[in-house]
Symmetry: C2
């Protein structure tokens, strides 16, 4: 049960001129599940990606990095059910063979294809099934198939994740549509499990890598479900250049900012949707840390809170056992932190002041907030002006159930 997140309606998702999507059932995951998605780009699209910092990065991530250096990307191919990670040289061969198979059918070079995989780690990718599934995926390709793609890349997700936005750039309307997936092994470090964001805006291709990084930093890199950074995290930004405005030459121009705002809106919705659909999640929690010397230490404290199993189970139980939050602040690794300056708020409730219980704090006030499905934890460190925010979920029986059962 995702937290305040329902499946998107196909009618709410805007096609992006220059992008067609097709989905098929290749039998990689489970019988009856669409598990193979292709995204086809018209010539001239600019593409940038940010990928996992896990040293065990998956074979497709390594191939994506190589192919993005060449540029001129024409297709993406995504399978679920198998991550092709922890598979050594053989995994690289199979990821490249996937690109070769799709490139042959599209009559482009293999380097113009980006491969993505998500699923179980350390199992060989079933290449022949993917190859056999490609013709059906290609035959399915339509501009309006964003919802099918969002469904096609799901693993333990319970709800498909897709959002659209528009912006006016240089007098023309541009569209931004994105999809994402991921419910466990979520503590993206540079990007989420899988996220794809496309726009028809015209933007100098050289600006795209910096834009992708900036978007990832403010969205996917601020969410966590379980603290486990995946081997396959990939976030891809596509600009098809089809819109009717003069090209954007700077992200700091008025047009650049308008586009960035629309793209950030969709990227944040996609990233937060992953938390709302986090494995076993019953609550959506915003952890905001203020008054730090720099954003880095605020983030460090926010992640300590967001990863604490004790804090997360207290949220699940709606139990305002809030000393656990102070304990997490205390072990976050800021050596010269002064506990005597720390304040803690739960939504509007002032729980702790100067490192101790607020004399006017009443348990029933904490209880009231803890019962909500959306909660903001706000910690004030009292040592500077910086702040940062992380989004996470609670920790329930179902997280254990889902991850104890995942392969069976």
């Amino acid at each position: 049960m995702a937290v305040n997140l329902s499946a998107p309606r196909a009618a709410d998702l805007l096609p992006v001129p220059g992008v067609r999507i097709g989905v098929a059932e290749a039998g990689v995951r489970k019988a009856g599940r669409k598990d193979l998605t292709v995204m086809l780009l018209e010539p001239g699209a600019a593409v940038a990606g940010v990928f996992t910092q896990n040293r065990f990065c998956a074979a497709p991530v390594q191939v994506c990095r190589e192919h993005l250096k060449q540029g001129d990307i024409r297709a993406l191919v995504i399978n679920t059910g198998n991550a092709n990670a922890g598979t050594g040289q053989d995994g690289l061969v199979r990821a490249r063979a996937t690109c070769i198979a799709l490139a042959r059918q599209l009559e482009v070079a293999p380097e113009q294809v980006l491969p993505f995989s998500t699923g179980v780690i350390m199992e060989p990718l079933p290449l022949e099934r993917i190859e056999a599934g490609l013709p059906a995926a290609l035959a399915d390709a339509q501009p309006a198939h964003w919802l099918r793609a969002a469904e096609g890349i799901m693993t333990t997700d319970t709800v498909a994740k897709a959002f659209s936005a528009t912006a006016v750039v240089g007098g023309a309307q541009v569209t931004v549509t994105g999809i994402s997936k991921g419910a466990g092994m979520i503590r993206p470090n540079m990007a989420t499990m899988l996220g794809f964001l496309a726009t028809d805006a015209r933007i100098a291709p050289g600006l795209l890598p910096a834009l992708a990084l900036e978007l990832a930093e403010a969205s996917f890199n601020r969410v966590t479900v379980d603290g486990d950074t995946s081997t396959n995290d990939s976030f891809v930004v596509i600009a098809t250049q089809k819109a009717a405005h003069a090209p954007i030459a700077s992200l700091d121009s008025a047009d650049g900012r308008a586009l960035k705002a629309a793209m950030l809106q969709v990227a944040r919705q996609l990233a937060q949707a992953i938390v709302r659909d986090g494995e076993g999640a019953t609550k959506f929690i915003t952890v905001r840390v203020e008054g730090g010397r720099d954003a880095g230490e605020c983030r460090q404290v926010a992640y300590a809170i967001a990863h604490s199993p004790l804090v997360k189970t207290a949220f699940f139980a709606s139990d305002p056992n809030l000393g656990r939050i102070l304990a997490a602040v205390g072990y976050a690794g800021i050596a010269d932190l002064d506990p005597g300056r720390i304040d803690l708020f739960l939504d509007d409730v002032h729980v702790a002041v100067g490192g101790g219980r607020n004399p006017s704090y009443r348990e029933e006030d904490g209880q009231r907030v803890m019962k909500q499905s959306e909660i903001t934890v706000r910690v004030v460190l009292g040592r500077g002006q910086a702040a940062d925010t992380v989004w996470t979920c609670d920790f329930s029986y179902d997280y254990v159930k889902i991850n104890a059962d995942y392969r069976s």
Copy 2:
């Protein structure tokens, strides 16, 4: 259900000359639970302690640090049910008042008393109940009451933790007996929730702080249940100086090494007992990382594995979903780690070689080991000669249940 850990028998615990222990029911925790323990030392005992590195360290921890500077400790007083942490100045006043109350009855100075608290954070310590309980605890004091003390300091522990050992030092037999508690909020950083180790050995008091640190490093500082470093971790080493040998002047002498070995044996048993009785634990897991450049990076990788909720739930399910271990190795934060050199073993089973699945690995072999109640994960990094070991447990429904219910 603790993993291969049964309650100690009173007859197996050796009294330590110079130490008497008394226990009482003060009504701090629950009705019918012994929750107040005093440990009385004859004059001349040397005492050293190591304490939590959590910046929100509890009031009693702060008072212990002050009083240990004075030396000449004559008594310890320990309550469960309330941690007296996150309680600000008022908490310090109450911790000091506890010392004053016990000191008055013993006719010693308040600075000769060490206070310890464990339980809920950010609630006021019920001082009057502790004061009212002290006479009964003092009346109960006996050298043979180690098991009662181990029971008296329990919170969510399901089994009391106490061990004894002997060593021959300078021709005389010396005794080492210790107790510990803790089942959740366990990722000691310098020491465990509460651990007490006493010996009648004669050892120069100046050597004791270094000895306590060395013992903590090789025992309590190598276990983790949930990665949450407590506000109250305290490990205290007591040498009553009552044995009939010439004083130990160096820890590197033959006598020093013999004593240290006996003390380390008990400290390790106590630390591992905390993991065996970890909240919801069904398996005891040794994570050994070898082939690192230094012990620090081996420890970093071992903790990444030991804290991964995905790895811990796979152990709970006996599911050899071992790619999750590789993923944890990959995100442990070693920037220049080469995944192509990494080997993974599960007990005697060689699971991964050179960063990929071992061609001769068979799932049924992994399955066989995963079903055991004691498992060793061995990771070889292939970049140096250093190694380190961490002990942990799996992650089950019951962890969530215990921590969602703890206060109610």
